[in-house]
């Protein structure tokens, strides 16, 4: 029969492969469930059905569209082709302003209404999130 060393080594390799396969499987499965897609207001118009899944919407904050009340903030995100109303209750980043780029994360209620759970911060006045840049270019 094989010696103890060989057996032990064999056992380790099997265990290693098994855990490797398991972890790859876990990672991929979890990735599938937890990925957040980015969509521009125009992309949303083209959606076939509204799913209850977290997405990101990006574009410009339309001029004169921000309204603040005690519980929430309403504003409109536009890519100059289509727009979508966003309602949000939470903290807004410092650089959130009309005429600036924005990325909001949350859930679609219908094709023209979005409930945001998070507004992403930018920390540089010249910085435009790459997605927003592209969404605006495509118009």
């Amino acid at each position: 029969m094989y010696g103890r060393k060989v057996k032990l080594r064999f056992f380790f390799i099997i265990l290693f492969l098994f855990s490797l396969i398991l972890s790859v499987f876990l990672i991929l499965k979890s990735l599938e469930e937890n990925v957040v897609y980015f969509q521009s207001p125009s992309d949303i118009q083209l959606l076939e059905e509204i799913k209850y899944k977290k997405i990101r919407v990006g574009g410009m904050v339309k001029e004169n569209s921000i309204e603040v009340s005690s519980e929430k903030i309403n504003f409109i995100v536009t890519d100059f082709k289509n727009e979508i109303s966003v309602v949000y209750s939470g903290v807004v980043p410092n650089l959130f302003a009309e005429g600036k780029g924005v990325v909001a994360e949350g859930y679609l209620k219908d094709r023209s209404f979005f409930e945001a759970t998070k507004i992403l911060a930018k920390h540089d006045e010249n910085y435009m999130p790459p997605e927003v840049n592209e969404a605006l270019k495509e118009k």
């Binding site: 060393k5 032990l8 380790f12 290693f16 855990s19 972890s23 876990l26 990672i27 979890s30 990735l31 469930e33 937890n34 990925v35 957040v36 897609y37 980015f38 977290k54 990101r56 921000i66 603040v68 009340s69 005690s70 519980e71 929430k72 903030i73 209750s89 939470g90 903290v91 807004v92 980043p93 410092n94 650089l95 959130f96 302003a97 009309e98 992403l120 911060a121 930018k122 920390h123 540089d124 006045e125 010249n126 910085y127 999130p129 790459p130 997605e131 592209e134």
Partner: protein
């Protein structure tokens, strides 16, 4: 003017010296068995020149010399002196110059400090390190010259991004870089040692110091960045799985794994190939971090505007380095199957193998979560992001066995061991499970998972605490680091379970009430400061037991015209009260965020304890 001029030419001479050093090193390597003192002299000269160049840049910043493009882009005359200086490395060009300075500094220290090592090994390490240094010289001079001349000379600079004008962030980059660049020495040294077939316990003893130094600085650097994000960005937490954070965590995980393996190499001469791969991976991940942050590819919530051309250079350079290391690994490395040492199941080696598996698993989770969106974007131009739920779901369940192994593993001996004091280990397990059930039971969220998690963290906690008092414990450093880790996990868990958040929009004079907590917006005062206007809100927070006055601030900087929120945090031993305000589009309403964050202080303290463990090990020569 003069400073920029001197700085620029110092860099060019520095590059020239690199070539000289390589020339002499090759000559030495071929001909004789002595290390020419020229190499040492030139290394010192090179470090000195890069230092002069760096100092020149600092001077240009202090004098607000706007004929220098870097200064123009990142400074302003009204900026306080401290931030003029820290602005030197608060930008792309300056921070790369700092990288280069640390690279040259470390190879000089290496040369001085490795006198009792093989001559050939030292020379080869110098050559590999010089290849990296040359790459950075060219990168700096070609794509990001810190001394570009501007004409006509502008009157005023563009200013430093205000969120970078902060003490924690002034020292965060240098410390993080010491960690990143420290891994370059490990990389050069492992390539040299592989070529000479010198990967043995002698080498392990010598490189362990470098691994520890990089690890300590990297840990501290990450901690500083994390503290900064907590109070300056107003994120109100310590970790957000943001890509920029992840790229610093990846080399840390690799380095931690590497350190545990080095211990095995030192004692048992095992895991040689694995150590070579890990050392290469650590440096590659550090470089990748720089590449991803600098290229603007990362879709991060705190990306700064930057230039893709630079990314391309770092990426090509990275490929060259990876190619060289793969070549060396396959050509020179011979695994010695002859003296295959026995491994028994219950031994320290096995427990370190298990530690490695877990660490590699965590590393791949972070790697995939960070890199997958980039690949998907390139392949299908789908824009996605991977958020905290992904990481939590994949990492948290595996923390449970990880913590338990971490508690038992160090109790084992090398080669073959048996568990002693089974009874006391078992009793401690029961105590920790009971303690956790007692604590978690009053809270509704995810009862089962939380109590098991808290239980296993308590287990490690109790065992390490017990070992502090046991006379048999010789490994204070290890016990300290593991104790710190258990405290970290416990603080994070309690922080998550017990924190509370209130977000509302308020006008001056209004108040907000929820349960028995009341937030009153008493007053708003305006004050003109040197380079910003400050609006300070006065809030009183009332509860049945206490009343707190908190004064968050909103700063409107003059140049660049940016608004930042300064959180006001009342730090107490067991919880932080955290408040930030923000104003939307000059409306009367202020966006108010109030957080109760338990055990925040303990998160920072426990990371310091972990680092302290590393420090003890570094200074304790009589390790074990």
């Amino acid at each position: 003017m003069l400073a920029s001029f001197v700085g620029f030419y110092s860099l060019i001479f520095g590059l020239g010296i690199s070539l000289l050093i390589i020339f002499f090193s090759i000559k030495n390597f071929k001909k004789s068995n002595i290390l020419d003192s020229k190499i040492l002299t030139f290394s010192f000269l090179q470090m000195f020149l890069v230092f002069v160049s760096f100092f020149g840049l600092i001077l240009s910043f202090i004098n607000s010399d706007f004929s220098n493009e870097t200064v123009f882009n990142n400074s302003h005359t009204t900026k306080p002196l401290f931030y003029k200086i820290s602005g030197t490395w608060g930008n792309h060009e300056g921070s790369l110059l700092l990288w280069l300075l640390v690279l040259t500094l470390f190879i000089f220290i290496f040369l001085v400090n490795s006198k009792n090592q093989l001559i050939k090994y030292r020379i080869l390490t110098v050559i590999f390190q010089q290849i990296i240094i040359i790459g950075f010289f060219i990168f700096l001079l070609k794509t990001s010259n810190p001394f570009s001349y501007l004409f006509p000379i502008p009157e005023e600079g563009l200013g430093l991004n205000p969120i970078l004008q902060d003490p924690a962030l002034a020292i965060h980059p240098p410390i993080l870089y010491l960690g990143y660049v420290g891994s370059s020495i490990i990389f050069s040294s492992v390539l040299a040692a592989t070529t000479l077939n010198y990967i043995n316990s002698n080498w392990a003893k010598h490189i362990k110091g470098w691994v520890l130094i990089s690890w300590i600085f990297l840990t501290l650097g990450i901690l500083l960045g994390s503290i900064w994000a907590y109070y300056e960005l107003g994120w109100g937490g310590f970790w957000f799985w943001d890509p920029v954070e992840n790229v610093s965590l990846m080399p840390w995980l690799a380095l931690t794994t590497l350190f545990h393996c080095i211990l095995v190499l030192e004692k048992r001469s095992l895991f040689k190939s694995w150590i070579i791969i890990l050392s290469i991976a650590t440096f590659t991940l550090s470089m990748c971090g720089t590449f991803l942050v600098r290229s603007g590819i990362l879709n991060s919530v705190h990306t700064f505007a930057n230039d893709p051309g630079r990314g391309l250079f770092i990426l090509s350079f990275l490929f060259v380095l990876i190619f060289i290391s793969i070549f060396i690994f396959f050509v020179f490395h011979k695994s010695d199957n002859k003296n295959f040492s026995p491994i028994f199941f219950l031994s320290k080696e096995t427990s370190i193998v298990i530690n490695n598996w877990f660490m590699m698993y965590f590393l791949s989770v972070v790697l995939i979560g960070t890199v997958y969106p980039i690949f998907l974007d390139v392949l299908s131009s789908q824009k996605i992001s991977v958020g905290p739920p992904f990481y939590h779901k994949l990492i948290i369940p595996f923390l449970i066995p990880f913590l338990i192994f971490m508690a038992i593993g160090p109790r084992l001996k090398w080669i073959k061991s048996e568990l002693k004091n089974k009874l006391s280990l078992f009793v401690l397990l029961i105590i920790s499970v009971l303690a956790s059930i007692f604590i978690v039971k009053n809270f509704e969220t995810n009862y089962l998972l939380n109590s098991i998690l808290v239980g296993s963290a308590f287990y490690l906690f109790f065992i390490t605490v017990r070992d502090f008092f046991s006379k048999k414990t010789k490994k204070l450093s290890q016990n300290m680091a593991h104790f710190g880790f258990s405290l970290l996990i416990l603080s994070i868990l309690f922080n998550n379970i017990f924190s509370n958040e209130i977000i509302t929009n308020l006008k001056v004079g209004e108040s907000y009430k929820v349960d028995n907590l009341e937030i009153v917006f008493d007053d708003l005062t305006k004050e003109n400061k040197k380079n910003y206007v400050s609006y300070t809100g006065v809030f009183s927070i009332k509860d049945e037991n206490f009343e707190n006055i908190l004064k968050p601030e909103l700063r409107i900087y003059n140049q660049p015209n940016i608004i930042t929120s300064e959180a006001d945090i009342k730090v107490t031993l067991f919880k932080d009260n955290f408040i930030t305000i923000n104003n939307v589009q000059n409306e009367d309403y202020f966006n108010v965020r109030y957080l109760i964050k338990p055990f925040m202080l303990w998160i920072w303290i426990s990371v310091l304890l972990i680092t302290f463990g590393g420090l003890i090990s570094l200074f304790n020569k009589k390790y074990e």
